[in-house]
């Protein structure tokens, strides 16, 4: 893999584009056919810079999960291309989706096992990843012995165990209470800053999007299209209850409601 790297071959044009981690170009996804046909995504284009935190925002059923599935390579687009620029994509799901027959540590170890990493090193990395999400010493707990917030942190550690350059998160905090969610926002922001990972974060919560994102991509529903992209120029670290966040959230919400409202009549 590393042999492909030859410095002389790189011109400035490539260097200018090099900052792009993810290129989604004219992507459509159609499910079913005939009367059952659902156009989940229609001509979605988006570029994400390396290290950027992008929030995908939209009402339920607008195709957010479908789009993440395409980026993670779990599904293929009906039209258009998804280019992850050779980067590895990791995924984190709502409801933690931990494997219930494994311990917390066992779950984090699975991606390491799949890459053939040896046992001693797996142990060490697992312990480091768990302490990254403040769960040091919890490796032997089983998922049902953890709180919802802890399960999501294990899930986050597992996503990082995939050594992803691009982390796709599908409403990861949707089922948590507000206080736990606020804390996990802080944690995620910290880990994102420290690791420089590129994040594609799906949510239907406007404030959450404003709290976390560098940019907010608003998707329209049926079919899912990029309705508008907001730049979030608020200094970090942000607080979800700050006036700046509330202000932009109001603007975005109005726009979102307008999108959703188109379906009311």
């Amino acid at each position: 893999m590393t042999t492909a790297l030859t410095g002389s071959a790189v011109d400035t044009g490539a260097a200018a584009q090099a900052d792009t981690a993810l290129r989604i170009d004219g992507v459509s996804r159609v499910f079913g056919a005939g009367p059952a046909r659902v156009q989940a995504l229609d001509d979605v284009s988006l570029e994400v810079r390396a290290g950027e935190f992008v929030c995908l925002l939209g009402a339920s059923g607008c195709g957010k999960s479908t789009l993440l599935g395409l980026v993670a390579g779990l599904d293929a687009p009906s039209a258009g291309t998804v280019d992850t620029t050779g980067r590895r994509v990791g995924m984190m799901f709502q409801d933690s989706a931990l494997l219930p027959w494994l311990t917390a540590g066992g779950n984090v170890e699975v991606p390491l096992k799949l890459r053939g990493i040896r046992k001693a090193e797996r142990r060490e990395r697992t312990e480091r990843l768990l302490s990254m999400v403040r769960l040091a010493g919890m490796a032997d707990r089983r998922p049902h012995e953890l709180s919802g917030g802890m399960r999501q942190r294990v899930s986050l550690a597992r996503a990082f165990a995939q050594e992803a350059d691009i982390l796709c998160m599908d409403e990861p905090f949707g089922a948590l209470d507000a206080m736990t969610r606020d804390l996990l926002h802080d944690e995620l922001e910290r880990i994102w800053r420290e690791t420089g990972v590129t994040v594609l974060f799906v949510t239907h919560d406007v404030r959450e999007a404003v709290r976390l994102g560098d940019r907010i991509v608003l998707l329209s529903s049926r079919p899912g299209r990029v309705a508008e992209i907001f730049d979030v120029d608020i200094d970090r670290p942000r607080r979800i209850d700050s006036a700046h966040v509330a202000e932009l959230a109001t603007t975005v919400t109005a726009r979102l409601r307008e999108e959703v409202g188109r379906h009311g009549h």
Binding site: L5, A14, F31, P35, G148, E187, S221
Partner: protein, 355 residues
């Protein structure tokens, strides 16, 4: 710098995990710890002795009640005691048999047949189950036949088995395998069918494909159903074996079933009952073993409702509470969202099921 980025070299470009570590924010730690502690299930298991006693006494009670009923029927004089002896007589006969070499020889043969037949059935049923679960064409071809086979009473196979194999061990084995394998296969098929799609997505997103997906996700997720199939398969194997031993008496090969048949021919009701007690006891012991395996699996997966976790289960999942200002916005938007969903609902539901 540009060179490193353009051609992705994982070592250089990958986010640096080593940099991520718990920040020095003790108050975050404290709050998180507090939230975690409040939300962690605190089910504590009773000590082993108490648990096994709790599991045993209802069984003993039921057994005593049954023996009592039996004795009462005998006392009513409904049948003469040489036709229907009381439990004491039957148990005494059973006890005295335990001291004979013949009993143990017969029991050993029966158990060896059971284990051999069951092992082969598990092997065959497992292979067929995996194949049918994996290949659509095979499923369409033989899927429903497996269930049909399962519902066939094993006794109807014996005429054919005897014609094919004469009065031999093979005839018995043939029927035991036919009795047990379909249950095992069905357990595997259902297990694979009911693997939550989300877990498969999780596995694939972690890079598991083909065999590794089976090994790390599908097989463990299917285990509960597979275990149920194994348990049912055993029940069928044991029944088929007993039927076989009654019908196919191989000369010079004593077995529990042969003893039972023998006692019947001698009109020895006490002997019949002693054999039946043996069969029952074996059934209870094997059932206990399966239940122990099942309980262990459920406990590891948090599927045991006991103590606090039962209360939690009844209370249901936590819903995020609405936070002040957001609640208002959402309330207003709900109407519009509902409208959006209703407006296209037929589309969505039919789309979701067309697959």
């Amino acid at each position: 710098m540009a060179t490193e980025i353009d051609v992705p070299t994982r070592a250089h470009e990958r986010p640096d995990l080593a940099k991520a570590r718990p920040g020095d924010a003790p108050e975050v730690d404290a709050t998180l710890a507090g939230l975690d502690a409040l939300d962690i299930p605190t089910a504590r298991r009773a000590p082993l002795l108490a648990r096994s006693w709790a599991a045993t006494w209802p069984k003993l009670g039921a057994l005593v009640l049954f023996l009592l009923l039996w004795q009462v029927v005998v006392w009513t004089g409904w049948k003469p005691t040489y036709v229907l002896p009381g439990p004491v007589t039957a148990l005494r006969e059973f006890g005295s048999r335990l001291g004979t070499g013949h009993f143990w020889e017969a029991l050993a043969r029966t158990l060896v047949r059971a284990v051999e037949g069951y092992a082969l059935a598990v092997l065959i049923g497992g292979v067929v189950g995996v194949a049918v679960a994996r290949f659509t064409l095979l499923r369409t071809a033989v899927g429903s036949f497996i269930t049909a086979l399962q519902t066939m009473p094993s006794i109807v196979w014996f005429p054919l088995a005897i014609l094919l194999f004469k009065l031999s061990e093979s005839a018995i084995m043939f029927v035991v395998i036919l009795g047990a394998a379909p249950s095992v296969a069905n357990g595997v098929i259902y297990g694979v069918d009911y693997v939550p799609p989300l877990l498969v997505r999780v596995g694939r997103s972690m890079g598991a494909r083909g065999f590794s997906l089976y090994r790390h996700v599908v097989a463990p997720a299917a285990l509960p159903s597979v275990l149920a199939g194994l348990k049912q398969g055993w029940a069928f194997a044991w029944r088929s074996l007993m039927a076989g031993e009654l019908l196919v008496i191989v000369p010079g090969h004593p077995s529990i079933g042969a003893d039972l048949q023998n006692s019947r021919e001698l009109i020895d009701t006490v002997g019949v009952m002693a054999s039946m007690i043996t069969i029952f006891v074996v059934g209870v012991i094997v059932d206990a073993a399966f239940n122990a395996a099942d309980a262990r699996m459920r406990q590891r997966r948090g599927l045991v409702a006991e103590g606090n976790s039962a209360v939690r289960a009844a209370r249901g999942r936590r819903k995020p509470p609405n936070d002040g200002a957001g609640a208002n916005e959402r309330a207003n938007a709900i109407t519009a969202i509902d409208a959006a969903v209703i407006g296209t609902a037929p589309d969505a539901s039919s789309g979701g099921h067309a697959g």
